[in-house]
């Protein structure tokens, strides 16, 4: 068992565990914090896979932006109390059943599939440095890149629309 595998296992364990804790925590703030840890461990996976740039971006976007947004909302709504009543048993049962089912089904499918034999290809070319990523993103993926801006624009207009108070005219 190589070091890398051990690192992977540890990281994976942390990821799964914190993900679970996110869901099981009664306090939303705790959930958010566990989620941050989870995201960090995923960033760790990225680093493990040697995609440093992505790892950094991931931390900035998720832990930096999205999680702050979550926390902000939680604070805004004053939800940091553990006041949530548990869902009725049937719902929890349903949740567990579907968790097991989807896990089982997908895992079985993948286990049943032909195992990949032999070495993984390794061209040795650089494919994930900032330089390369930048080139791909702004050459080949220029249109989706621009289109993503439309997406963000829509989201922006949308949030404005949803929270804008109407001026009563006339």
């Amino acid at each position: 068992m190589s070091t890398i595998l051990i690192i992977f296992c540890v990281l994976a364990a942390v990821t799964v565990l914190t993900a679970f804790l996110t869901i099981f925590s009664r306090n939303p703030i705790h959930s958010a914090l566990y989620l941050v840890i989870c995201f960090f461990s995923i960033a760790g996976h990225y680093l493990l896979l040697n995609s440093q740039f992505l790892a950094v971006v991931h931390i900035i976007v998720y832990s930096g932006a999205i999680m702050i947004l979550f926390l902000f909302t939680i604070m805004l709504m004053n939800l940091n109390k553990e006041n949530e009543v548990h869902k009725p048993r049937i719902t929890r049962l349903g949740a567990i059943v579907s968790f097991c089912l989807i896990c089982l089904v997908l895992l079985t499918v993948f286990i049943n599939s032909k195992p990949i034999v032999g070495e993984y290809i390794s061209t040795g070319d650089d494919y994930q440095s900032i330089k390369v990523l930048g080139k791909v993103l702004l050459n080949e993926y220029m249109v989706p890149f621009e289109f993503a801006s439309i997406l963000l624009l829509v989201a922006m207009i949308g949030t404005v629309l949803l929270s804008k108070k109407e001026k009563t005219e006339k």
């Binding site: 499918v109 829509v154 629309l161 949803l162």
Partner: protein, 456 residues
Amino acid sequence: MNTLIAIIGLGVLCLLFEIFELRKAIVPITIIGLLAVLGLNISEFNSPQSYYNNMIIVSKFSTAFSGLFIILTVFLVALSHKVYENHQTKISDYIAIKVFLLAGTVAMVSFGNLAMFFLGIEVLSIALYILAASNRLSIKSNEAGLKYFLMGSFASGIILFGICLIYGAMGTFDVTEISELSRSAELPVWFPIGIVLVTIGMFFKIAAVPFHFWAPDVYEGSPALTTALMSTLAKVVAIATLFKLLAVMNAEVSSSFQIVVVIISMASMTVGNIMALRQVNVKRMLAYSGISHAGFMLMTLLSVTNAAGSLLYYTSAYALAGIAAFSVILYVCKNTENEDITNFHGLGKTNPLLAAILTASLLSMAGIPIFAGFFAKMVLFNQTIQAGYIALVIVAVVNSIISVGYYFKLILAMYTKEPNEARTGTPFVIYAVAIIAIVLNIALGLFPSLVLDLLA
């Protein structure tokens, strides 16, 4: 490609108009702009080409459907004029979102790369979440928005997972490459699973059973105009995209997958129609009706190689009838709290023209000749029988019969009940939209070849 750029430009223009305080001009300008875009789109019809490293592939299929989307958007924007009269400060936002949504839809049918597909679908979804929740003081609208959002993001997750698996199998996002690869080498199981997951995500978008549960709730809760958009444009886009996805990526859909499609199609029709029977809310009823129509549209997936024309025809017929129906609903339920069937009582007396239009559109949906809905069904049945699924056609026929039950409930309410309130005002725009939509529908019925042969 030019269409897409022009649409985005138009969207930005809308935002600018807000800045320059030209709110009154937004709707007319947008309509004119969209018509211009339609012209541009038609000009691209005969010049299939791919742009920017295959990101966008303009084909007959994509232009034809884009044309349909643009026409539908024109109608929807025109209807906005009246609906958002009292929301002047927001009108540019609404219109801009709709125009961007159109951009998303165009991207969805003309994608050449799964990234475009994904972004397109997200633009569409996010715009729809916003529109569904846009009546922010109404709890129903909020609920609709949240439900749609939760389930929609869930579905997005599934789609993303599917795309990821496809990438894992192929190492590329480019559909032409995927298509070539899928024919040649032996593939890891990831690829079919990916396809299936993406398909399921799209099933959700077109509201096929058992992924349909969101539709009635969201349709009911959303503002009527948004419901109109969802039940016409969004559904049509989703099925067109799914069709394209399956058509482009793997030439032959496996037989067991076809059986899945058959079962889902049957289930959608049956559940949709039977559930619609006892609805009192018209929007909810049309949601169920939309589910059943989704079942019908799924029949095209059984013969992806040659069903593009009939899909275009079916979607046009359905969407045009839907637009006509919804414009009447908008008129009738303008000042009411809900869209219950009681509001339609006596419409045949108070406003015979609109009643006639609603009747016509419902008849079209039910598949009565000479409306386009009939030919749509006929062509579909023809193709499905050709593909060898006569059992599916029989189920479809039985469902057509059931569907008459609830469509006629509405018609009966209009013609046999006494009106419970006097209706005033004859908004020109609603008349115009309703009449043009239904006339287009009948014209399609009279000359089906116009559309059917378009993608031959």
